[in-house]
C-alpha cells in the first residue's frame, strides 16, 4: 500500500521571543485521515494548528500540501475550514448566512448557495434553524453550525481547535461520534487539537502526542495506548501506573516478583520505570506461602461496570481496574496478590 501524503509538516520550528514553541516538528498527514494533536497546555499544539492555518508563520521549516510549498500563502488563500475554540460564529448573521459566508466569498450566490446551506443543515440534523439568529442557539447547535460553516467551502483541510471543550460531558461524547461520522462522510483530511486524551483516542486515526514543542510519539491510538514511547506518553494517556523498578539485571527487571524482559536499547544496570495500565493488573487470592507480589487494598470503589482499586504494595500505591464480576468478596484491607502480563508492561529508562 502506497501512502498518499496530503500535508507534510516539514521540520517546522517556531520561536516566540526566547521561547521555543515548536522544535523540528516533522509530520506526514495522509489524505482523508483524522489526526489529533494531543498534549498538555503550552505544548505547542495550538501553535502548530495556527501555522497550518496560516495565522502564524513558522520560524523554520515548511508546509507541503500536495507537493506544493504553501508556507508563504496567506490564510485566506489556503481556505482551510477552521473551527475555533470560541466557535467564532458571526453574531450579526443568521445561521444560513453564517454557513453561506464562505460560499458567498466564492461567488456561490442565490439558489445554489441556499441549496448548499440546506444540504449542510440536513447533514448536521438541524434543518429548521436556517433563519434563526446565532444567539438563539444552544451550545450543541452552535457547535454544529460552526462545523457546517467550515465544511461548506469543501476545504482541502479541516482544522479544529479544541472545539468541544466548552460542552458538557454527555453532549461532548455525542458530538465526538457525530464529528467522526461527518469527517468520514466528507472524507476530508482533518487535524484536531485537544488536551483530552479520551477525545483524542475516540476520534483519531493518527494520534500525535506533543510536549514542550516536540513530538513525543505519533501513531494510531491503540498502538500509543499499548506501546507508549516514553513515560510521559504512558502517563499522559491516562490510568497508567508508573513504577520505579530499580536497576536492570540479566536483561530483565523484577516487577513485584514478575520478571519482565527488556528490549535491546536498555542495558543492565540502568534504573528503569515500568508503566502498567490499571486494567492490565490482575488480582489473585493469596495463599500462605506467597510472599512476592502481595499487597493490601487501601481503597476501592464500585463504578458499576468496573471496580477501581488502590493496592498498596511495598509502600507504593497502584491503581487497578477489574470488571465487577471478577472481584467478589474483596474489601478494603484485604490482602491480594498482583499478577502482571509481561507483554502489557512498558519499560522506560528512569529520568
Amino acid at each position: 500500500m502506497t501512502s498518499d501524503i496530503h500535508l507534510h509538516i516539514n521540520k517546522v520550528s517556531k520561536r516566540f521571543g526566547t521561547v521555543d514553541a515548536l522544535r523540528d516538528v516533522d509530520l506526514k498527514i495522509e489524505r482523508g485521515s483524522f489526526v489529533c494533536l494531543l498534549g498538555p497546555s503550552g505544548c505547542g499544539k495550538t501553535t502548530l494548528l495556527r501555522i497550518i492555518a496560516g495565522f502564524e508563520a513558522a520560524t523554520k521549516g515548511s508546509l507541503i500540501l500536495d507537493g506544493q510549498d504553501i508556507s508563504n500563502q496567506p490564510p485566506h488563500k489556503r481556505g482551510f475550514g477552521m473551527v475555533f475554540q470560541s466557535l467564532a460564529l458571526f453574531p450579526h448573521m443568521s445561521v444560513a448566512r453564517n454557513i453561506g459566508y464562505g460560499l458567498k466569498l466564492r461567488g456561490v450566490k442565490g439558489a445554489a448557495q441556499r441549496d448548499r446551506v440546506e444540504e449542510l443543515l440536513n447533514v448536521i440534523q438541524l434543518p429548521h434553524i436556517a433563519d434563526r439568529p446565532v444567539s438563539a442557539l444552544s451550545g450543541g447547535q452552535r457547535q454544529r453550525v460552526a462545523i457546517a460553516r467550515a465544511l461548506a467551502i469543501q476545504p482541502p483541510l479541516f482544522l479544529l481547535d479544541e472545539p468541544l471543550s466548552a460542552l458538557d460531558a454527555q453532549l461532548r461524547d455525542n458530538m465526538q461520534i457525530e464529528l467522526r461520522q461527518l469527517q468520514q462522510k466528507f472524507g476530508v483530511t482533518t487535524v484536531l487539537v485537544t488536551h483530552d486524551q479520551h477525545e483524542a483516542m475516540m476520534l483519531a486515526d493518527e494520534l500525535v502526542v506533543l510536549k514542550d514543542g516536540a513530538i513525543r510519539q505519533s501513531a494510531p491510538p491503540s498502538q500509543i495506548y499499548n506501546n507508549p514511547a516514553d513515560s510521559f506518553v504512558a502517563d499522559f494517556l491516562g490510568a497508567a501506573n508508573l513504577i520505579e523498578v530499580g536497576a536492570m539485571k540479566g536483561g530483565a527487571i523484577d516487577l513485584f516478583g514478575t520478571p519482565v524482559k527488556s528490549s535491546p536499547p536498555h542495558r543492565d544496570g540502568e534504573q528503569m520505570l515500568a508503566a502498567v495500565r490499571a486494567e492490565h493488573i490482575g488480582l489473585s487470592t493469596v495463599g500462605k506461602d506467597d510472599k512476592a507480589g502481595v499487597g493490601a487494598i487501601s481503597f476501592m470503589r464500585d463504578l458499576g461496570a468496573a471496580t477501581e482499586f488502590v493496592v498498596t504494595i511495598d509502600g507504593k500505591d497502584l491503581r487497578v481496574r477489574r470488571t465487577s464480576a471478577q472481584v467478589q468478596g474483596l474489601n478494603v484491607g484485604s490482602k491480594v496478590g498482583l499478577t502482571f502480563d509481561p507483554s502489557m508492561v512498558s519499560l522506560f529508562k528512569a529520568p
Partner: protein
C-alpha cells in the same frame, strides 16, 4: 433563593433615597428645557416667568425670520443654520472616518501604544475650552489661512474625536480576533473580514459616536466663538448675538425648534444606520 445586596422587599429601605435622587437628577437636567419651552409660548415682550398670557407670536416670528430673507443682516439665521448643519455633518463623517480604523488598530495593537494614544486624543477634553479656542484662533491667524468653513470644522473634529474614539474602542473590545480569523479562514481577505464582520459588529458603538459628534458639533459655542467670521458663523453664535444685549424671546422659540431638531436627528441617524442595534 437569591439574596439581593440591597434590600428590595416592599421597595426596600433605599427606595426613598433612590426616588429622591432620581427626581433631583431629572429636575436639574430638564428644568432649563421646561422653562425655555414654557416661556417660548409667552405673549409678553418681557421675559418674566411665569408668562402672564400665552401665544404663538414668537413662533410665527421665528418662521418669519427663516422665510423672509433679511438682506441687511450678514449673519442671517438661515445661513448660520445651514453652516451649523453642514459643519455638524462633515465633523460627523470625518471623526467616524478617522476613529473606526484608529480604534481597530489600537484595539489589535500594542497595549501601551493604545493607552498612550487614548490619552493623546483625550487632551482636548482636559484643556479649558476657552484656551482651546484661543489656541486654534492663534494658529489660524498666524498661518493666515483662508479656509472658509474648515476653520470651524477642524476644531470641532478635535473636540469630538475623544467621544467618537472611546465609543469605537469599546465596541472593538468586544470583538475577538477569532471571529476575524474565522472569516479569513473561510476565504475573506483581511480587509474583507473587517468590512463584513468587524464593522457590522461595531455598529452600535459607531452609531453612538456619530450621534455624539453630531450633537456636540451642532451645539458647540465656546471654540466657535473664537473662530467664527462674518462669512462663516453657526446658529449658537447667531443666538448669542441676539441675546447678548437683551433677551429676545424669539430665540426661546428657536431653542425649542433646535431641541426638536436634535431629537429628530438622533432618531434619524439611529434608524438609518442601526438596524437591529437601534436604540429606539
Amino acid at each position: 433563593m437569591r439574596v439581593d445586596l440591597l434590600p428590595t422587599e416592599g421597595g426596600g429601605t433605599y427606595r426613598f433615597v433612590i426616588i429622591l435622587l432620581a427626581i433631583c437628577g431629572i429636575l436639574i437636567s430638564s428644568l432649563p428645557v421646561i422653562v425655555v419651552t414654557i416661556m417660548s409660548f409667552s405673549a409678553a415682550d418681557n421675559t418674566g416667568f411665569p408668562p402672564e398670557a400665552l401665544s404663538l407670536r414668537w413662533y410665527s416670528e421665528v418662521i418669519a425670520m427663516f422665510t423672509t430673507e433679511d438682506a441687511n443682516s450678514a449673519q442671517s439665521v438661515v445661513s448660520s443654520t445651514i453652516t451649523s448643519l453642514v459643519v455638524a455633518v462633515i465633523v460627523m463623517v470625518i471623526s467616524t472616518g478617522v476613529c473606526i480604523p484608529l480604534a481597530y488598530v489600537l484595539a489589535r495593537g500594542d497595549r501601551r501604544i493604545r493607552s498612550g494614544m487614548e490619552l493623546l486624543f483625550t487632551l482636548p477634553l482636559v484643556f479649558p475650552l476657552v484656551i482651546l479656542g484661543i489656541a486654534f484662533l492663534l494658529i489660524a491667524e498666524s498661518l493666515r489661512l483662508d479656509i472658509g468653513i474648515w476653520r470651524i470644522i477642524i476644531p470641532h473634529v478635535a473636540l469630538v474625536l475623544p467621544f467618537v474614539l472611546r465609543n469605537c474602542l469599546s465596541a472593538m473590545s468586544g470583538i475577538s480576533l477569532e471571529v476575524e480569523e474565522a472569516a479569513v479562514s473561510l476565504g475573506a481577505s483581511p480587509l474583507r473580514a473587517i468590512w463584513d464582520i468587524v464593522i457590522p459588529m461595531m455598529k452600535a458603538g459607531i452609531l453612538a459616536g456619530l450621534i455624539f459628534a453630531l450633537i456636540i458639533s451642532f451645539n458647540e459655542f465656546t471654540i466657535t466663538f473664537f473662530m467664527y467670521t462674518v462669512d462663516v458663523s453657526t446658529l449658537p453664535i447667531w443666538m448669542y448675538s441676539r441675546t447678548a444685549s437683551s433677551l429676545d424671546p424669539s430665540t426661546l422659540a428657536l431653542s425649542v425648534f433646535i431641541i426638536a431638531a436634535d431629537v429628530v436627528l438622533i432618531v434619524l441617524v439611529d434608524k438609518l444606520i442601526a438596524g437591529r442595534a437601534s436604540l429606539f
